[in-house]
């Protein structure tokens, strides 16, 4: 009796052509359209320098989107990433700066400080994973609390001040230029390439998709659901710490608000890029397109000299429009 109901053969007939395409492909025409709009709106838009600026500005948020995508595909949530972007380099920077400007005055070896920065990311991820996987707490509320807690620790450590005068080794990755292109773009590109490959061709990537798609079936197939989920949280926080290091390096300073509000853009880019909030669906390539799309939009808005007070409103509206376009051209409807 139930066999008929189980067959979801009935599908919407319209836009059938797009159904076979991954939603990430549907983003490409949108991106091309935006590039055309940008070049018409401003002559400077298509200059290589401007395009590199877009890529560099996108590269840091892109690492966060990569991190969030992994967590979302595994069917979980991590809101605390943006606070990790602030806290991890703040601790690293604190170790290498003088007491006069708010640092520890210990002047630790900068390479060790970079190691500490990344280690902080790992520890935060491990703690998130412990609360969510081992204690079974809700990921949304755990990482929301961590978002607030970590930001508070960052503010407390810096007493609201900004750490500057960072040693060049500490800022190198964020500020270096390799072959005429900022190092952060190379790094980000490499991570996406490796990530895309691993998600497609490594058992760990397939395990993440399976867990997000149906954790019970994944468990019955012998996948260690808890362990994989935990590792995903650790990797995500590690990527956030790296993003923070790059950001501090680019700016040459660490403010107590570093990373603030980045989580909203991160989610927007991931979802526009076709990552399902219900888990199990989406590709890193799509997520990258989502980031680029938002980067281009930001750049066009800035170049068009829209009054800065209105940029946020325009940005929000464009995210909604992009989501609708993606949905209409084949992205999955949100199940919730």
């Amino acid at each position: 009796m139930s066999s008929n109901a189980l067959n979801p053969a009935a599908r919407k007939p319209y836009l059938h052509l797009f159904k076979v395409m991954p939603s990430s492909v549907a983003l490409i025409p949108v991106l091309v359209l935006l590039l055309i709009v940008g070049s018409v709106a401003n002559d400077a838009f298509l200059l290589p320098a401007n395009l590199l600026t877009i890529l560099q500005q996108s590269s840091i948020i892109a690492l966060l989107v990569l991190a969030e995508s992994l967590v979302l595909i595994a069917g979980k949530f991590d809101l605390s990433l943006e606070s990790t972007v602030g806290l991890a380099p703040m601790i690293g920077g604190w170790l290498v700066t003088t007491a006069a400007i708010g640092g520890s005055g210990w002047m630790v070896n900068p390479y060790l400080a970079i190691g500490v920065t990344l280690l902080v990311g790992i520890l935060i991820g491990a703690f998130n994973g412990f609360l969510i996987v081992k204690l079974g707490l809700n990921a949304f509320i755990v990482t929301l609390s961590m978002l607030i807690l970590l930001r508070g620790v960052t503010l407390g450590m810096a007493s609201g001040k900004t750490l500057y005068d960072l040693p060049p080794e500490f800022t190198y990755l964020g500020s270096a230029v390799w072959f005429g292109v900022p190092a952060s773009i190379w790094i980000c590109g490499t991570f996406f390439a490796v990530g895309t490959f691993l998600m497609r061709y490594h058992r760990f990537g397939r395990a993440i998709y399976a867990i997000g798609g149906n954790p019970e079936a994944a468990r019955a197939a012998g996948i260690r659901v808890e362990r994989v989920t935990w590792i995903v949280f650790v990797v995500a926080s590690l990527l956030a710490a790296l993003a923070g290091l790059l950001l501090s390096g680019r700016l040459g300073a660490i403010t107590a608000q570093q990373g603030g509000n980045m989580i909203f853009t991160t989610f927007a880019a991931a979802v526009i890029g076709g990552i399902s909030l219900n888990g199990g669906k989406g590709s890193l390539a799509g997520a990258l397109l989502g980031v680029l799309l938002l980067g281009v939009v930001t750049n066009i808005l800035t170049l068009s000299q829209i009054a800065s007070f209105w940029i946020d409103a325009a940005f929000g509206a464009i995210i909604l429009i992009a989501l609708s376009v993606v949905r209409l051209t084949g992205g999955a409807r949100s199940q919730s």
Partner: protein
Amino acid sequence: MSTPAPSLNPAPVVVAVGLSKRFGVTKALSDVSLCVFPGEVRALVGRNGAGKSTLVSILAGMTAPDSGSIHFSGISAPPTHARELWQSKVACVYQHPKIIPTLSCAENLFLHEIMRGRGLISWKAMRRAAREHFDRWGLTIDGDALAGTLNMGQRQLLEIARAVRQGSRFLILDEPTAKLDGKEVDRLLTHIRELKALGVGIVFVSHHLDEVFDISQTVTVLRDGKKMLDRAIAGLAKGELIEAMVGDASAGGVLAGARAAIHPRVARLKVSRLSCPGSFENVSFEVQAGECVGIAGLAGSGKEAIGEVLAGLKLAEAGTMLLDGIHLPGGNVSWHNRAGIGFVPQDRHREGLVLGMSVADNATMAVPDQLGKAGFISPSAVARATRHIIQELDIKTAGPGEIVSSLSGGNQQKVVLARALARDPAALVLINPTCGVDVASRIALFRAIIRVASRGAAVLLISDDLEELEICHRIWVLRSRHLTREFVPPWVARDLVAEMEGMAA
């Protein structure tokens, strides 16, 4: 307990005439009639898939019949979409109570009034009314307690109290005792007798035939959507009732006698004194190479847990499992799988498949180590492995890359079996492996299972489906948490059912 003579209450609470319902090509119900008088308890029995659920769903106004008519107390039934009107005519209590666990018992009792009422809620009046109501029924339920804190039996009673409070004279109890223990069943039956004395007409669906004989005056037996028996319980022999339920199921089986040859004296799977609290106790059996051993039991008997423990999904409390002399540690699916256990779980949508992933991804999910080095998965190895299994199991699909959710139920189930067979298992553990699939797929699945057994694997088939169990060399029945009796062919389907139901035929 006296039965009010129908002649004193001339208008039956429900008269259904000639109900038929078709789902696609399946005729779920054909020309079934049913009549319940005030104060009558009519048992509705039949095996899984006999059409009970469809009939209940039609009587409860959830499904519109293709043909036939229903009258409640002489008045024609309201249209199917008029939920409110139906609810005033008939109350249905399901196996899983439909209460809201986060609201108090009193709120659950008066939910309808609260939702329809105007103005503010008077908690004081509601509490008082709830207490009166619970007292009248002798229910020890605290109106302020959250409904979620009640045990199963109390939830059932709360729901029955809510149903009769809304004034319906016709009550459907759909397997209300399935999740209850003995004491709770007794209490529920007592309350049903009280309702009967008040002149409520009841349809009582149950798998437990002793309850049927205990509580009801009349019985309707369905088989394959048709009414096989409709008579008074008094003077009815239990054997006659079971005969009507089972018919000659074994004769029509497409697989009768299709068994693999046993490799004698090679016991591959040995289970001894295995216990899992709440599901089964002290279970011991052996499965030889090429042998298919069945474990039969009713829904809720805990038979599935045996399979889940063997697969490493659940941890047993005591006992040992040996596969080819190697001790299985329990609680580690990956370990058990590598040791040689192939597992088809109970529910393909819940545990069997990741519906959004491809046929290839699902079929090879348990064996990533066979598809490349250092965790990397070679697409060509995946495609090769999947193409092979697609051919072997005759999976109807556009190719290894097709998303599993677009396959038919039968082909989805073949993918689940493919996953279980991916490592060429020494022992294959199957739970209801052909549940809800079409006949052609069913035959293909069983051919594959028999083929695996013929190659020398041990097969454990956990099922409540008599046709599935036909391929077994032996069947153990699990009842009241213990393996109670072993059947060897040729068994009589009636005896097997009687043993599962827990009564000597």
